[in-house]
């Protein structure tokens, strides 16, 4: 009786899982074994590993995702830390979350306006005497906008981790003679590391396959795996190759998840 009921509760989620997670992944894996002529083949994988283009693209993606994650982290941790100590922190947190409610395309177009030759950014550069610069369609602007978009997803888990931190640990550290910086480095940061890891997962993996931004802001100068997938599915119609890259991305995600999950035995190995 109860067993049947539990099964019923699971049904909606199970259906969702099957239709939108398992089936698509299975389809991608399935497609990746077909060439343009619908013949079963391993050529796609051979191609991926043999031609330097795809490997370079992968490296490129990983490198840019790494940079975006790094900058996001460098900005988000101090922000979350300060935010957490403010009086009206719920309000400030809302301001951080607010931009995530706006569609990513709208934000991208807004940045095109800001970074264009006649945009606000160049107005400012002219004003301080630097003169107009090519801002749009550069690697720097791509990283800048991608970082801007990812920041809330990094701040939130770090903020939550700081919120969960028992202030008694900080007092204990000070009591034992640590100064503010030592307390941060030896107590606060290690204890909020799970939040940072969650943030890395939330930022790094989506950054691997950004393709709208690479085109709109990066001017397609940065070719990431996301761009390649889009090209294969919509332009060259080589679904097999596109799926192969998709599989590679999925594997990359699994690797990142494994790296950022806690595998240490509780208590930690002595350093």
């Amino acid at each position: 009786m109860t067993k049947r009921k539990t099964w019923l509760y699971f049904l909606p989620y199970g259906l969702w899982l099957a239709l939108f997670v398992i089936a698509p992944v299975a389809l991608i894996v399935y497609q990746s074994f077909f060439n343009l002529d619908h013949q079963v083949t391993l050529d796609n994988y051979a191609n991926y590993f043999r031609s330097g283009v795809y490997l370079k693209m992968t490296l490129n993606s990983v490198w840019y995702a790494f940079l975006i994650t790094l900058f996001t982290g460098l900005i988000s941790y101090p922000t979350a830390y300060v935010l957490h100590q403010l009086k009206h922190r719920q309000f400030w947190l809302l301001l951080v979350i607010l931009p995530t409610w706006i569609n990513i395309l709208l934000k991208a177009y807004a940045f095109i306006g800001i970074f264009s030759q006649a945009g606000v950014a160049n107005d400012f550069l002219r004003f301080i005497g630097v003169g107009p610069q090519q801002l749009l369609f550069t690697n720097a602007s791509f990283i800048f906008v991608a970082t801007y978009i990812q920041i809330p997803f990094m701040i939130l888990p770090i903020y939550n981790a700081l919120d969960d931190l028992n202030p008694a640990y900080v007092n204990a550290s000070l009591d034992l003679g640590a100064n503010r910086w030592q307390t941060f480095r030896r107590v606060i940061f290690p204890l909020t590391l799970p939040g940072v890891k969650a943030g890395v997962q939330a930022v790094f993996i989506p950054s691997l396959s950004l393709f709208m931004l690479t085109r709109l802001i990066g001017g397609n100068k940065v070719i990431t795996l996301g761009t390649a997938i889009e090209e294969h599915f919509l332009t060259t119609m080589n679904w097999g190759m596109g799926s192969t890259i998709g599989v590679v991305l999925i594997v990359a995600m699994i690797i990142v998840m494994q790296l950022t999950n806690d595998h240490e035995p509780r208590g930690g190995a002595p350093r």
């Binding site: 008694a168 007092n171 204990a172 000070l174 034992l176 003679g177 100064n179 290690p190 208590g267």
Partner: protein
């Protein structure tokens, strides 16, 4: 008297309209076990945080070894705290927790290892260095917290209700362990608790607090035998408190009768309160007794019976007796003059001490006669 290690002078603490500490004066001598005792919210933890450096007082001076330390931050004070919930770092092992303060001092690794091993041995956790904190029981965590603090060799160790999370049996065991540890180390302990039993068992000196004031300080025996007022008498141990009137020196009237007592220096006819401890009262036959009571109920407490009774004027009495009584029986209650303690209604500690000084000697001789 040697130089006090900690001194609070006219310390006052306010948060908005709330006054947490009212003109606290307190002196701690080196090498003694002190207890701040009071109900929750009385300000005892605030005093502890004032000494450890986590609380800035509104007014008054905090002195450490004669130096004013009001503005010295917590990490530069030679005091360490055992926190109420221990606050052991969950990401470090037992040994790493104990070594935390020492590594900050940049001591050589070998020195740290030796000191950590010594500290863990002192709290009987010698083999636990590599354990995770989460793998320890409450009592073991308690000991790690103590080891982490004493390894710093502080001159004063502050303990914030450290036994409150332990079960009754372990708490008793830890009481004697703490007392033993304090005597071996010879450092000053300042222990905060709301448990009067703990305070009486361990302390050299107790400060009884209520509503941000220190009501009475003294040895456990002094405070138990001669509480200064109704609150202290009621808070420390069980007591029978009755309204009375001073007749003359060593004579007090209550329940419509006059009794010999051991208190003096109070003007005649002043309204007072009389305290009698339940274990000082003995039950006898009504014919030989000073008072007559009717037994209401009794509770068996293991080593004694806690007997509730009512006298003919309607006052409730509590009597501790080794032997049971019969419910509803009419029995006599007996006590000796020194079992009565007379409290004036609004006496401050200084006045109380001064009054005691005037007749202490004669009191001792009168006690010897009985």
């Amino acid at each position: 008297m040697s130089q006090p290690i900690i001194e609070l002078r006219h310390v006052t603490q306010r948060y908005g309209d709330h006054t947490i500490l009212k003109n606290i004066n307190l002196t701690l001598e080196s090498g003694k076990f002190y207890t701040l005792l009071g109900p929750s919210g009385c300000g005892k933890t605030t005093i502890l945080r004032t000494i450890s450096g986590f609380n800035q007082v509104t007014a008054g001076d905090v002195l450490f070894d004669g130096q004013r330390i009001n503005d010295v931050p917590a990490n530069h004070r030679n005091v360490n705290t055992v926190f109420q919930d221990y606050a052991l770092f969950p990401h470090l092992t037992v040994a790493e927790n104990v070594a935390f303060g020492l590594t900050l001092k940049k001591l050589p690794k070998a020195d740290i290892a030796t000191k950590v091993a010594e500290a863990l041995k002192l709290v009987q956790l010698a083999d636990f260095g590599n354990r995770a904190i989460s793998a320890l029981s409450g009592g073991q965590q308690q000991r790690v917290a103590i080891a982490r603090a004493i390894v710093m060799q502080p001159q004063v160790l502050l303990l914030d209700e450290p036994l409150s999370a332990l079960d009754a049996k372990l708490r008793r065991a830890m009481q004697s362990e703490l007392r033993d540890l304090q005597q071996r180390l010879g450092i000053t302990f300042l222990f905060v608790t709301h448990d009067q039993e703990e305070a009486l068992a361990m302390s050299d000196e107790i400060f009884v607090m209520n509503n941000g004031e220190i009501l009475q300080s003294g040895s456990p025996v002094d405070i138990y035998d001669e509480p200064i007022n109704h609150f202290v008498a009621d808070f420390i141990g069980e007591s029978n408190i009755l309204p009375g009137k001073m007749v003359a020196d060593y004579q007090v009237a209550f329940n419509g009768q006059q009794f010999e007592c051991s208190d003096a220096g109070i003007p005649a006819n002043e309204p007072v309160e009389v305290v009698m401890r339940p274990e000082d009262l003995t039950l006898t036959t009504p014919a030989h007794a000073k008072l007559t009571v009717t037994i209401d109920t009794q509770l068996f407490r293991g080593d004694y019976y806690e007997i509730s009774a009512t006298d003919d004027r309607g006052h409730d009495w509590m009597i501790h007796s080794v032997n049971p009584a019969e419910d509803g029986a009419t029995l006599g209650v007996n006590f000796r003059p020194q079992d009565l303690h007379v409290m004036r209604l609004h006496e401050k500690e200084a006045e109380f001490d001064a009054r005691l000084e005037t007749y202490e000697g004669t009191e001792e001789s009168s006690r010897d006669q009985t």
